[in-house]
Symmetry: C2
Subunit: 340 residues, 2 copies
């Protein structure tokens, strides 16, 4: 297969290795600025726009200069930083947890949506709608302390494998996005995740995988309660939704948790529309980016018609709003660190 | 007046200036470590315990070493970082806002608690209880965008004066605490505010006054909504409480916003009890501190009997829990940067 640059994938991989070696050598003398900070990005429109934006906001004395404290960049997680197909990772976790907890809940065998989850009938699970999915999430994400939940999530992530790629989900993160996160941080940005997913699940791996510490993760939350039992305090997760960090909830979550309007937002679906809108409507230089999944061979192609991560309205409005659409197929040299 | 060190206040002030000069000279060669990072703290038990704790958690290879990323320190605001007498600053703001908004609300003249607020009858306001105070807060803190609210709060803070000290409230912050915040940050700590007060009000001055950026402020929140009007998006504050960051709400807020358990907590009232308990019950080195207001001459003396910032249960339990009680009168050389 030839990529848009005309190089074979093998040549690309070799080129990447050389670039990585150069970066390593260069790093010895100037740690923050490797020779090419974005080696997995082809030299196409998206890369150029990103580099231009970073140059604009970091140039001392330039008219677009933004002080480091205000360089807030927000990233959606599912479908923007890692694969969200064939289903959200958190849903895969919930389905596995239903199976693990089933012996304690004999009634689940005959109660929807649990019966569908136990039968592995993903279509029926999806058909149970938002209400059904919420029931699955609450039954599997509540009723334990935050520490216990984090340990369960970390354990699952270490063992579960992506059904197509056969790798841990944490290895389905996108190499070009890891490079972009690091590039922004090297330029004084503070990088945040702003996800519709549950905040504690993401926090269990965000630092190790993305270099984003727990306190820079904004996500959906369930209600919790502080309890002291036999002198030992704990924070207990309750089966009640506290906040849904999706769609119009994303700017609300950004304001609540961060308290500043970002200057860069990167998403991939209509769930990110308002986050992009809020970010790019502010004064001064702003950058809104949308990852378009058009690469069935290396990852997935789905945009307008997927139950997970549908990209429709945001794609239509991107040109008018000045948002940059990143086409995975043509603009990324590599998708995953482990290939392809 | 003589302080516990036997020096007059004038001598103390001179000593402080000399120390500041030394710090400045020293800073030229080693910016992070002035000669004495805590010049306003007497050499008494609290100071020694703080310095010992910082030494323990920062000593590479030491058995109490804590990686910088986990050095989270949380500070209550009212009564811990600035004066909360004769009333919470946010309540003073709410009362002034009631007066400013009264022409648009003729019904307030005859409706409690607004009538009491307009008459300046603080006792009747206090007697209206939590419900009454909440009504005042919601009527004055909602119904505008977050940007508008922040501008109103900043404008008020620039004009309002503390009734006793005749200075802006932002100059009733405690000099020893500013030094402590800076000292912790110089030692790799990330300093957070965790306040029962409204998060947006505190964010409007936290960076300038405390060096704590908006994203490191945890506080009470009201519900907000994302709205787009004539193509311009805004986040609108609704007259509905979202989260109360006080008492058992403090550890809940810490987990929700920060997602890590702090290793140091500093409070001054029973409203901080659970925050101290949650912080100091964790494994490894932990430090809980309580500021005791026992200095009627330089500030206030109130602990067990104040409607604002009552310190009763936490004071009783401090010895058993190993929390360090900081006595303002004997342990602080200076209270305010501007004196006394």
């Amino acid at each position: 297969m030839k990529t848009e640059t005309g190089l074979s994938k093998r040549s690309d991989r070799t080129a990447l290795r050389i670039l990585a070696a150069i970066a390593l050598v260069s790093a010895t003398s100037a740690p923050a600025q490797p020779a090419d900070p974005l080696p997995s990005w082809n030299d196409t429109a998206s890369r150029r726009r990103i580099v231009e934006f970073v140059k604009t906001v970091t140039e001392p004395g330039g008219k677009g200069f933004v002080p480091p404290a205000e360089r807030i960049a927000v990233f959606d997680n599912d479908g923007t930083l890692w694969t969200e197909q064939p289903m959200y990772v958190q849903l895969a976790f919930a389905l596995d947890r239903v199976k693990a907890l089933a012996p304690q809940h004999p009634e689940w065998k005959t109660t929807a949506p649990f019966s569908a989850a136990l039968a592995g009938d993903l279509k029926a699970v999806a058909a149970s709608g938002e209400k059904g999915l919420l029931e699955l999430v609450l039954a599997t994400h509540a009723g334990m302390t935050t520490d216990e939940f984090a340990a369960t999530a970390a354990d699952w992530l270490s063992k579960a494998r992506h059904p197509r790629f056969g790798r841990p989900y944490t290895e389905t993160v996108y190499q070009p996005m890891l490079e972009l996160l690091a590039y922004l941080r090297a330029n004084g940005f503070k990088t945040y995740l702003v996800s519709g997913g549950g905040v504690e699940m993401i926090r269990s791996f965000s630092e190790r995988v993305y270099g984003v510490p727990p306190e820079q993760v904004v996500g959906s939350t369930i209600a919790t309660e502080y309890r002291v039992k036999d002198g030992v305090p704990a924070i207990v997760r309750l089966p009640k939704v506290d906040f849904v960090d999706d769609k119009a909830g994303k700017p609300v979550g950004i304001q609540k948790f961060i308290g500043r309007r970002p200057i860069l937002a990167f998403g991939n679906s209509d769930g990110d529309f308002q986050m992009l809108e809020w970010t790019t409507a502010g004064p001064g230089p702003r950058l809104g980016l949308i990852l378009r999944h058009d690469d069935a061979e290396r990852e997935y192609a789905y945009d307008r018609k997927s139950p997970f991560g549908r990209l429709d309205k945001a794609l239509d409005e991107a040109p008018g709003k000045g948002w940059q659409v990143v086409n995975m197929k043509g603009e990324w040299k590599a998708v995953f660190a482990a290939g392809p």
